[in-house]
């Protein structure tokens, strides 16, 4: 696309676009309604659905908007009765073999067929022949199910595997009304980006096994967030209701992820959900029959403050009760926001330890710098850059070997660990916990999911990335803000909130905005007079 701007007129509205823009892009830019299925801004143009027809002054036949470029002074419209009828009958042609599946179709509520029928169709069907039957519930691999009857053969999914993932698993087989999407023998749809085809499929032909039948989409609300699955930091939107998060989908960001995200990243929706979360703080107990008991996280932190931080009798030293300042160690993982690191590190330096006793825990040094060429990176932490920047600023970047040396040389009082939110990407977490345990008196471990029960470990529940605000910095140094989506574990605290309590101040907690979210407004359920 060159920088030269050209003028055109769409439905009597003037617009300037750069040379080489297609008519449909100009329509989108002006927010004018246009029916379309096969065109997707992230894929090549196929021009197979023939729904995006427009009238161009001076050209006797209708043209498709996705495959026609705007020229200087072009006058385009799609408002006349003639063209509306053409689109309407085009839509009817798409739907003649479409099954009556909406009640059991996962796409219902966000289906382009439903939406565009309401917007451009609204005809009474004239078809009297029997519908053509095709395969249903076809397993395409471990992640995706195909329903050929619902497919409108827009070829978006085929183009995705050809152009984006470049794995070429999908194809259109047979001809005429027998054509259908399929995979080749012994080559299931298993690439790392496969679930994107579910997002771009305008109908319910491709559905994701992970989300299938869990919720109807009109029970879900959508919020913007950032994927914390790796250091790329793809922009995502998450769908949730009062029960928890149900799925993550990519959100367009030209600079980072375009229209896509990887399938590993989609799994992060499970992390904040209540099942498996650490519900309350766990505090070592002095009883011999059980190693720990649960109390509220604020009470636990107050207890920690009393035991390890309270002012000594000499009045000026905060390090008492068997703990001297140089005996505390802080270990950080790159799974927190920049603001939290700031708060925790300055607190640690003020009361507990020195710059030499702060360490950065790198999870998988072997494949840390991997990159698959599209999005997925080996560094499975969202904020490595942010953490390293702060440690550098505070001159507290110490090699891991120093930690081992310190632990081997002397008995350490307390190890404070800001543990990973996503424990799966820290395969050696148990091993490390045991190692720390054998070399110190107490471990204070912030964690979202329960660890091994131990008589030395204090587990403090933390908020996940969907429950707090802050900044994370991706691999390229791009800082991105995240917002709290909802709250799922009432007693969870962010590191900053924990520090407020450890400092002995009163924590002002904002009320959870909405635990009972109102239903997503959906005209299929609410504008009943229309249907």
């Amino acid at each position: 696309m060159s920088d030269k701007l050209i003028k055109c007129e769409i439905n009597n509205k003037e617009i300037e676009v750069s040379e080489g823009t297609s008519i449909i892009e100009a329509f989108k830019k002006l927010d004018q309604p246009i029916a379309h299925y096969c065109w997707h801004p992230g894929l090549s143009v196929a021009g197979v659905c023939r729904l995006c027809m427009v009238e161009i002054e001076g050209i006797p036949k209708f043209q498709i908007a996705c495959n026609t470029k705007v020229t200087e002074g072009m006058k385009i419209s799609n408002q006349s009765e003639k063209i509306k009828a053409a689109v309407r009958w085009g839509l009817e042609f798409h739907l003649i073999n479409h099954p009556l599946d909406c009640p059991i179709c996962d796409q219902a509520g966000e289906c382009e067929l439903q939406e565009q029928y309401m917007q451009f169709g609204k005809y009474s069907p004239n078809m009297s022949e029997n519908k053509v039957k095709k395969r249903k519930v076809v397993d395409l691999g471990s992640k995706i199910v195909l329903d050929s009857e619902r497919c409108i053969l827009c070829s978006r999914c085929v183009r995705f595997t050809d152009e984006i993932s470049k794995t070429h698993e999908l194809g259109i087989f047979n001809r005429g009304d027998k054509s259908e999407i399929g995979i080749f023998k012994d080559k299931p749809l298993e690439n790392e980006y496969a679930v994107n085809t579910v997002d771009i499929c305008p109908v319910g032909a491709l559905t994701s096994k992970e989300f299938r039948f869990k919720q109807r989409v009109w029970y879900l609300k959508t919020a913007d967030s950032i994927c914390t699955g790796c250091s790329t930091g793809c922009n995502i939107e998450v769908d949730y209701n009062e029960e928890g998060l149900f799925r993550a989908r990519p959100r367009y960001n030209k600079e980072i992820n375009g229209y896509w995200m990887c399938d590993k990243g989609r799994e992060i929706y499970r992390l904040p959900n209540r099942i498996g979360r650490l519900w309350k703080a766990k505090v070592p107990s002095s009883d011999s029959d059980k190693s720990s008991y649960s109390i509220g996280s604020v009470a636990a932190l107050k207890k920690i403050r009393k035991l390890f931080l309270e002012k000594g009798s000499d009045g000026d030293s905060y390090s008492k009760n068997g703990l001297k300042a140089d005996e505390a160690i802080l270990i950080l993982t790159a799974q927190y926001t920049t603001e939290e690191y700031e708060d925790l590190i300055s607190f640690f330096l003020q009361f507990l330890g020195s710059k030499e006793s702060i360490f950065y825990w790198k999870n998988n040094p072997e494949n840390f710098d991997d990159f698959d060429g599209l999005l997925l990176r080996g560094d499975k932490n969202p904020n490595t850059k942010g953490l390293l920047e702060i440690l550098q600023k505070k001159e507290a970047l110490n090699p891991w070997e120093h930690l081992q040396k310190t632990l081997e040389e002397k008995k350490v009082g307390t190890i404070w660990v800001a543990g990973p939110e996503n424990q799966k990407v820290y395969p050696d977490i148990e091993e490390k916990l045991r190692y720390f345990e054998s070399h110190c008196e107490n471990i204070i471990w912030w964690t979202a999911h329960p660890l091994l029960d131990s008589q030395k470990v204090w587990q403090i529940p933390i908020k996940t990335f969907f429950e707090k605000e802050g900044t994370i910095i991706n691999f390229a140094g791009r800082a991105q803000k995240i917002k709290a989506v909802s709250f799922f574990v009432p007693s969870a605290l962010s590191l900053s909130e924990s520090v407020v309590i450890l400092r002995g101040e009163e924590l002002k907690r904002s009320e959870p905005p909405f635990l009972k979210a109102p239903r997503k407004a959906n005209h299929f359920t609410y504008r009943k007079k229309v249907l």
Binding site: L100, C102, P103, I104, A108, E129, N130, K131, K133, K136, V137, R212, F213, K214, R216, W218, Y219, T525
Partner: protein, 175 residues
Amino acid sequence: MSRVQRKNSAAVWFLPPILKGLIFTFKKMLSNLSRKNKMLTLNYPEEHYSYGPRFKGNHILTVKKDGSLRCTACMLCATHCPANCIKILASEHESPEVEKYPIAYEIDILRCVFCGFCEEACPVDAIRMGPEWQTAGINGSSFVYDIKYLAKRDSLKGGGVLSRVDDQERHKAGI
């Protein structure tokens, strides 16, 4: 406070009307004893009144010809229910013909307002409101009707009510 003073003799002589009333009651008693079927009142709870089939009482989940549930777990009834008292848990059926079916279906009958929207919303005649209207129970849990009760309770003789919508017939008709 004002008091009305009746001066007429009927008010003073109250015995005759009382006797009149007693005679009427006694007459009715005798006629009820001799012609029981003409009696207007019912001896509830020993005797029940049965309403017509279109009465909107307790819900029934209908079944297919093979006896399995007709419900496809589309959740349209739960979406339309103004009392928010229907809870459905959907799952994947092993047969691709069925695809989606409910593994749990609960109606909290104490919250139900018997509006009939659920029946109206259902695309496959899977839920109907039947003529039963007694909802007595012994504790809270007896007012949450589960899937088994809704489809196969003893009062639905013959193990369930057959749905009018049949997938096989629909397929044969080319839909």
